[in-house]
């Protein structure tokens, strides 16, 4: 799940300087769960924009704003209103905004900040557990990611900075390595701690990354 958070409304207004008419697009996937790109979120955004003198000509929640072909198809539903629009506001993640922009000549602005790939702890509470590093080490770390859950992404064990089991960077956070140690100990697999995890190959994860499964299959 891609976690998004609405930008401060003032920032959005600054982006929209000079715009009188806009169209809103949302996303039926992650941004709907985050309530940043749902139908309700777009309704609220519409009301706020109109209170500031910006007309909302139309609004739709894309089924999946990061799906290029689907967006291309669905954006046609806005063809009546788009010609008059000065801009589209995309209430999706950073990917979804760009997907909309590739499917229109209009200027596209983001209404959200995209934060992280997150776990849904419970409704409205999200936490980061995977940084999409491209080289999973969870087999050796009791399925707790040190790349993400250690503020220094240490893969060979803890720094000396934990205090009462908590991280020096944010005392709200548990030290990832103490969590890993405790779980490995429970599992009787402490010997895994002696395994050196190779340094990350940043050459292999140079962005922007592309995955073509059809090419890979050949």
């Amino acid at each position: 799940m891609i976690i998004t958070k609405q930008k401060p409304f003032e920032e959005l207004l600054q982006m929209l300087e000079g715009c009188k008419n806009v169209v809103l697009t949302g996303c039926g996937e992650c941004a709907t769960v985050c309530k940043t790109g749902s139908a309700e979120a777009l309704e609220e955004l519409k009301a706020k924009l109109e209170a500031h003198g910006i007309n909302v000509l139309g609004s739709m929640v894309m089924t999946n704003s990061c799906n290029k072909l689907l967006v291309k198809k669905e954006i046609k539903q806005l063809k009546e209103v788009l010609p008059e629009a000065d801009a589209i506001i995309s209430a999706a993640c950073g990917d979804g905004v760009q997907t909309v922009a590739t499917n229109t000549d209009k200027v596209v602005y983001p209404s959200n900040n995209t934060l992280f790939l997150g776990e849904i702890e419970r409704q409205g509470i999200f936490s980061e557990a995977c940084k999409l590093c491209g080289d999973c080490v969870l087999a050796d770390t009791a399925a707790i990611c040190p790349v993400t859950k250690c503020a220094k992404s240490l893969t060979n064990g803890p720094c000396g900075g934990a205090k009462d089991g908590k991280c020096e960077v944010n005392p709200e956070n548990d030290c990832a390595w103490i969590l890993i140690y405790n779980r490995l100990k429970d599992q009787g697999r402490l010997d895994r701690l002696m395994k050196s995890i190779p340094t990350k190959d940043y050459g292999a994860v140079a962005y922007p990354r592309v995955l073509n499964t059809k090419e890979e299959g050949k």
Binding site: K152, N156, G157, C159, G161, W177, L193
Partner: protein, 292 residues
């Protein structure tokens, strides 16, 4: 040949001290302190943006100390440099005859004074040792051959004897030894019992241990460290002693000297590492009191 290595290998009790570069480009205070401790210590660590706070770099002061006839220990964290920058600095250090290198994770940028800085952490304290070892074997992190004679280092790292859980920390200690760490300088030690427990573990590995000594400046400073510095546990009895003293700085020097004497007398480890944190001029006084 590293003088620190020679001393430790000879089985003599080694003494190292620590110094921070200035937050600026005037090194005169550091060089004044260097003159005071010259001949009294076997090596001087130079911190690498200690507490994640910007100062002149470690390599710069190491070179200055070396030129002034002292034996530097280059501290190197993974916080600010990629593997390329780390290996480049190690090669430059070697070119100046600086062989002692202490690898550290580094405090996170967010706890320092340039909080917006990008935390690098490309290499950790273990993989930095590996990178140094690669250089010694004549190639860089990319596997490319170095030109000329490869460098020679005397590699070390840090350890926190009162880390909880200690077993977890000692796994990393073992990895560091496996990757070439020959000496360890510890977090400040104020009680012998936990230090002995740590040494029970550490003595299984082939590496020298220098016990960290941080002279206290006041009872308040001790309480502050207990609360804020991971791995520091100043016992109440020492805090009380500091509180009751009419000259707490002098008392701190005495306490440090007593700890050094005790560690040496009991043969608990191979030396001590004095971290005076801005009061380096007191290092000779501590050594006088400890009879070293």
């Amino acid at each position: 040949m590293s003088l620190l290595k020679t001393k430790l290998e000879s089985g003599q009790f080694a003494v190292t001290a620590e110094m921070a570069p200035p937050k600026g480009c005037d090194f005169s205070h550091q060089m004044h302190c260097a003159e005071l401790i010259k001949g009294r210590v076997d090596a001087v660590n130079v911190t690498d943006f200690q507490s994640a706070s910007l100062k002149a770099s470690s390599l710069g002061l190491c070179i200055k100390l070396k030129q002034a006839g002292l034996e530097p220990v280059l501290q190197m964290t993974g916080r600010d440099r990629s593997r390329m920058a780390i290996q480049g600095d190690l090669l430059s250090a070697a070119a100046f005859g600086i062989e002692n290198v202490l690898t550290l994770t580094g405090d996170h940028t967010t706890v320092g004074d340039c909080k917006n800085s990008k935390p690098v952490f490309d290499l950790d304290s273990v993989s930095m040792l590996t990178a140094a070892k690669q250089l010694e074997a004549g190639s860089d992190a990319g596997g490319n051959k170095l030109q000329g004679e490869p460098p020679v280092f005397f590699l070390g790292s840090s350890v926190t004897p009162e880390y909880e859980p200690l077993e977890l920390h000692m796994y990393k200690y073992a990895k560091k030894v496996a990757e070439g760490a020959k000496f360890f300088q510890t977090q400040g030690v104020y009680s012998l019992e936990p230090f002995k427990r740590f040494m029970d573990y550490a003595s299984k590995y082939d590496a020298y241990v220098l016990a960290g000594i941080i002279p206290l400046k006041s009872a308040g400073a001790a309480r502050y460290m207990n609360k804020n510095v991971p791995g520091i546990n100043v016992p109440d009895s020492i805090i009380q002693r500091m509180k009751e003293s009419s000259d707490p700085v002098k008392e701190g020097i005495l306490i440090a000297a007593e700890m050094i004497s005790e560690i040496k007398a009991q043969g608990l480890c191979h030396g001590v590492h004095i971290m005076a944190i801005g009061a380096e001029e007191n290092v000779p006084l501590i050594l006088d009191e400890a009879g070293l």
